[in-house]
């Protein structure tokens, strides 16, 4: 208790220096939390992937579609529960800056396969009834102020034309980490238009999503599906949804690594700043440490005193940074909602940041403690700092 009192009073002894170091620590931890959340957001698709969903795509590239006839064959494979299909629609809403994922999906089972997208029954029925209907995520609807029944105009690029879609459903996420910025139109409507305007492009799905009974059979089922289409003109590659999502993340691996490196550099810089502060502090207090040693206090007490002060500064700054991270993440999420739709500060990030504060405090105290414990009392008592 007395030690704690001494630590806390020492912490704010040099007001300006302590305040600046605490602020520096706050900024560093804020940056660390945001950068970690960016990485988490990057992997949101991977995290949200279900273990009992497989994705089948062209073995050559995702750019090459697969015949819609494959659906029936896949459905026959033992262990397969349901099969849905989708096409990447793309298109432009207002202009290129207003990006959000737009996909044409088979209206029958798509939402059965994605129970994390919660859509009211009447709205789902309305979507299944009207060919040019569409469903959008809650955040997207909020952002653009859409209302049910409103016509949304998209300018096609992969599928040229002026697409007028009527909003019939709004889904919300089952959890905080569910992406609520996706936009779905009906695959059969797209195909109907293609039949008229570009018949050679009709009858194809970009990928299939397959629900299986038992996740432990995913490898065997994947092999069976791919074997069905072996040596055909459109061979397939089936993998778990997680592996499929990881494939996308892997394309931007360099960015993720860069973000991770920057977050570590930030921590390294603040460690040096705190170590410098504690070294200066300890140098000024050598006389006091000598007095404490004279009175009979050991090196352990000096370590507790110096490390305690360093940890106190690190935790004060860290706590401030973590508190600020919440509004900062909220603002960030609003601004980047389409690029990083799932941007939530996770408790694991806060736990890691707290552990880092402890580690930074302890590491920053090592050099000054080493010096303090090595002082010769007799000569340090003449030390005036």
């Amino acid at each position: 208790m007395e030690l704690l009192k001494l630590i806390l009073r020492n912490t704010m002894r040099q007001h300006l220096r302590a305040t600046l170091t605490i602020l520096g620590m706050a900024v560093a931890i804020l940056a660390f939390c945001l950068l970690r959340t960016v990485v988490d957001a990057w992997y949101a698709g991977v995290s949200a992937a279900s273990p009992n969903r497989l994705v089948t795509r062209s073995a050559v590239s995702l750019l090459f579609p697969l015949p819609i006839s494959y659906r029936q064959k896949i459905q026959q494979v033992p262990g397969v529960q349901q099969v849905a299909y989708a096409n990447w629609f793309a298109g432009v809403y207002i202009d290129e800056r207003h990006f959000f994922p737009r996909m044409a999906v088979g209206p029958e089972h798509f939402f059965d396969l994605f129970p994390e997208f919660l859509i009211p029954d009447d709205q789902l029925k309305a979507f299944q009834k009207q060919r040019n209907a569409c469903v959008a995520g809650r955040k997207l609807v909020q952002k653009y102020g859409w209302k049910l029944g409103e016509t949304i105009h998209l300018t096609g690029n992969i599928y040229p034309g002026d697409w007028q879609l009527v909003l019939r459903g709004i889904y919300r996420g089952a959890t905080k980490t569910t992406d609520e910025t996706q936009f779905f139109l009906r695959w059969d409507y797209l195909d109907e238009v293609l039949k008229k305007d570009a018949p050679h492009r009709s009858g194809y799905a970009g990928w299939y999503v397959i629900q299986i009974h038992n996740p432990f059979e995913s490898a065997a089922i994947s092999r069976t599906i791919d074997a069905l289409f072996k040596n055909s003109w459109a061979e397939t590659l089936t993998e778990t949804e997680k592996a499929f999502q990881m494939g996308f993340v892997a394309m931007t691996d360099a960015i993720v690594i860069a973000v991770r490196v920057v977050s570590l550099v930030v921590i390294g810089v603040i460690l040096l700043v705190l170590a410098n502060t504690m070294t200066m502090t300890a140098r000024e207090r050598m006389n006091e440490y000598a007095v404490l040693k004279t009175l009979g206090f050991g090196n352990g007490f000096l370590f507790c005193l110096i490390a305690g002060e360093a940890v106190a500064i690190a935790l004060l700054g860290g706590a401030m940074g973590m508190v600020l991270a919440f509004p900062a993440a909220h603002l960030f999420a609003q601004e980047m909602s389409t690029l990083l739709p799932v941007f939530h500060l996770q408790w694991q990030t806060l736990l890691l940041a707290t552990a880092l504060c402890f580690a930074i405090g302890l590491l920053a105290a090592l050099l000054p403690t080493w010096r303090a414990t090595r002082i010769r009392i007799a000569s340090a008592l003449g030390h005036t700092g």
């Binding site: 007395e2 009073r9 006091e288 007095v291 040693k293 009175l295 009979g296 009392i377 007799a378 008592l381």
Partner: protein, 233 residues
Amino acid sequence: MSESTKPAPEPIILAENLYKSYRRGSQEVAVLEGITLAIEEGSFVALMGPSGSGKTTLLNLIAGIDRPDAGHLIVAGTDITRLGELDLARWRARHVGFVFQFYNLLPVLSGLENVELPLLLHNLNRRERREHAMVALELVGLKDRMHHFPRELSGGQQQRVAIARAIVTDPTIIVADEPTGDLDKVSAGDVLTLLEQLNQDFGKTIIMVTHDPKAAEKARKIHHLDKGVLNSN
């Protein structure tokens, strides 16, 4: 037993052939050269001598905050030259009270907390520590200022707090290095009177280093050091 047949009191400090030198650059400078000294329990001894004569070094050796290069030093029945760092620190906490020239109080602690500080190393609870510290502060006449921080006290008052800190653990010996060196005449007089009182009324053994002949007059015995050699008076 009559006064004349009463045996001489046992020395509480017994130094034999103490040698100490320091390295200054490439040169070895001898500070103490074969000091032999015995100080009896309950005495008030002044160590005097010119600057660099080795008086503070001798005081540091007696207090166990420095080690001799050679020789034996038995203080309160313990050969402190044989103690390891940890044991020596424990020994200091139990047997030695320190009074420094520049008081050396911790600025973030009040007078009371400064006096309580050495008691953290003793097996006392919070209430007992507080009681002991208040008794010590009352003894030095500063009970009414116990919640003041060092910066709120005059030099003389700070030194009195330092004396309270030195006596609060009831040490075997009190070592004082130039205790009046930083004080005005009146405050210096108060501090010396206090040390004299501790010696006479409480039987405390005090070893004081001083330049000031008037301060030395308060001691019952004066040892003069010159170039590391002792000339007793």
